[in-house]
């Protein structure tokens, strides 16, 4: 199809083109809701079935880093919304600025996430043959645990083992390890898939930034910025659900 200015050949008017792009993105986001939904359901059912093990899992996550990332993402949604606004009112230079700010915040989120993943690796919490939920209480120095914090963690793990014994007499620790592993399998699947969406979003931002240098986006034509904005906000909202589900339920330290 030929393109006349910003109007693609299959459309009659720019307005029709914009409506079409927006509807397309909204429908895509609906598919994303169902895509993440299957995983959220799997998580919820297992959380209900193995609340003790999942409580232990959730407690090992770093609340400060998770909280920091939540703030970063909300900020990035703000800058994204500002980029859309700047395009709509024709402040073409600011469009670029806000898009770059959004990209930086998105990159910061991924950086913090990488630190968290590294921590899980060091603490033997990656699902697989080396997984050991009691690694930190047995090697407190390598996890930086000491004093009252260490005592608390020990007590919690003992309580969780006891809870698992009810279902699995004589093999509470094995069961706890298996079920905590299930928690971390879901943790990595959910946050990993979310991070993948962030990376795709960052790619879209780069593409927008490259075009915005020429002052392409203004009041007359800003559909790509708006549509990418919708996607970006959606990815943020997924995190807004992931954060309490993974970090906050049953938190007691």
């Amino acid at each position: 199809m030929h393109r006349t200015g910003e109007l693609y050949g299959q459309f009659e008017t720019l307005e029709q083109q914009k409506d079409t792009a927006q509807l397309g993105m909204w429908i895509f986001l609906v598919t994303e809701v169902l895509f993440f939904g299957g995983m959220f359901l799997t998580y919820t059912i297992n959380r209900h079935a193995f609340s003790a093990a999942f409580g232990i899992g959730g407690n090992t996550l770093d609340l400060r880093l998770g909280g920091l990332n939540t703030v970063i993402l909300i900020m990035s949604s703000l800058t994204m919304a500002m980029a859309v606004w700047a395009a709509q009112v024709g402040k073409k230079k600011r469009v670029t600025g806000f898009l770059i700010a959004t990209l930086i915040l998105g990159g910061a989120f991924l950086g913090v996430k990488a630190i968290e993943y590294k921590q899980k690796y060091d603490h033997h919490l990656i699902p697989g043959s080396t997984f050991n939920v009691t690694y930190c209480v047995n090697n407190p120095s390598s996890c930086g645990l000491a004093g009252k914090q260490l005592e608390d963690e020990r007590r919690e793990i003992e309580e969780a083992i006891k809870a698992e014994e009810n279902e699995n007499p004589g093999s509470g620790l094995i069961a706890l390890n298996a079920h905590a592993q299930l928690y971390f399998s879901l943790y990595f699947a959910m946050t990993g898939l979310h991070a993948l969406h962030m990376v795709i979003g960052a790619g879209l931002l780069l593409w927008l930034i490259a075009q915005s240098f020429g002052g392409r986006f203004g009041p007359g034509y800003n559909t790509p910025v708006e549509v990418t904005g919708l996607y970006w906000h959606f990815v943020d909202i997924v995190w807004i659900y992931l954060f309490p589900l993974l970090y906050l339920i049953d938190r007691h330290n």
């Binding site: 199809m1 299959q10 509807l23 359901l41 697989g128």
Partner: protein, 546 residues
Amino acid sequence: MPKVHYLNASYGLKSWLLTTDHKRIALLYLASVTFFFFIGGLFATMIRIHLLTPGGFLVSPETYNKLFTMHGVTMVFFFLIPSIPAIIGNFLIPIMIGAKDLAFPKLNLLSWYIYIIGGCFVLYSFSTGGLDTGWTFYTPLSSIYSNSAVTPAVIGVFINGFSSILTGLNFLVTIHTMRAPGMTWFRLPLFVWAHYATSIIFVLGTPVIAITLLLAGLERMFHLGFFNPAMGGDPILFQHLFWFYSHPAVYIMILPAMGVISEIIPTFARRPIFGYSFIAGSSIAIAVIGFLVWAHHMFLTGESVYAALAFSLMSYLVAIPSAVKVFNWTSTLYKGSISYDTPMLYALGFIGLFLVGGLTGLFLACLGLDIHLHDTYFVVAHFHYIMVGGAVMGYVGGLHFWWPKITGRMYPEFLARIAAVVLFVGFNLTFFPQFVLGYLGMPRRYHSYPPEFQALNVMSTAGASILALGYLLPMVYLVWSLKYGAIAGPNPWPATGLEWKTASPPPTENFDVTPVVDWEPYDFEHRPDLALEPGIGGLLPAHGDD
């Protein structure tokens, strides 16, 4: 034929592989879907040959498991699901609503590439030993215990899902925003309504199987425990998630075929369709209710009696919109001047076979009866009546109906009628004995059977060979017609849709000027341009094929 049309507007491999024209993409799909159809058909042939004797004499039990798995995976994900939507729907939806193309032409091409990439993974799995899990990929067999090439197949089906999602998305947006002036919602052809309903399922269902297969694939690759009971995971959860998509997927296969039938019947009965809004609404109803019945596949694998009761009831409810369609089609036929051209033969065949397939579905939705029939050949026969008797009949019928539009040439009518009859006979001979076999207790997916079942199995295999002939015939004469078929002209039947107002084959932009619609759908009475020559009474106007 017009001098310049979409087929000769540009030349060279690149003009096809990088095309964004929905009509050319439809033909890319036609070639690749046909390829997969013959792969899947090859497996089916081997299954039927193997079952000629009670012990089975062609392949080992392990290979037999792989054969029916690969048959199912190929036919469901790479033939049935894309067949009508991605080929006929892709070609027709923009033309039927008076648009120049789909809303997102590049995305449409991307869908085809995704389909091809997914297909390559699956073919890689087949060529490195194949897989033996059944097309349902039940865990923990698929994720832990199977020693076959499950991983590439799961990846392939996962990737292919995005092709469905993007096609559905494209259709939904196109139908919403790309309609020509005057093409209101209730002037849309019922084919478009059927694809709207199908697209809803594409968009809402496919992501769920994508994430489910992703989790199962991760479980297999990294030994995780999402669905592995040994590690606390829940295999029943996998089944719930799997069927949440895969039952609605049945309606992905049958709804577009119903759309095809709704176009063919009024055209060859020369009457406006009876109950337009009910047929349109019943498509949506089937799509919606179809999402609430999934656990009827699991009556015997563990769910509460109350859940089973609810799912049984909801399954019965699907019969209502399905029956609405059948009654409306038959009412359209009443006092029509019916002609038995090839597409009409397929449409009438569809109604009969769909009726059998649908009613036997009610047997299976019945909680008590399902205990007896579950996992027997009765189930196999039931869904083949829907998928082959329904969906494939609709697909082949639609291909004939729109062949003149797609290629500009007529197929040979006499041969085509013979092929339609051969298909109908072959189909029934293949699958009706399987109802009996299943009722007598022959389980599905077994490589051998007690000797008393041999007669019925031999009948089924004999039918399959007739069926194969029925598929090969159109392959031959449709290809033949590309060069030697009579010139069709813009409206050979004649029919009422917008697609018949443009040239055959259509120009790249579909219409020279954007059409303005000021007539109601299927209105044969007030369209003097569609009047048949007096005295012929419903037979074709002369287009020189007989």
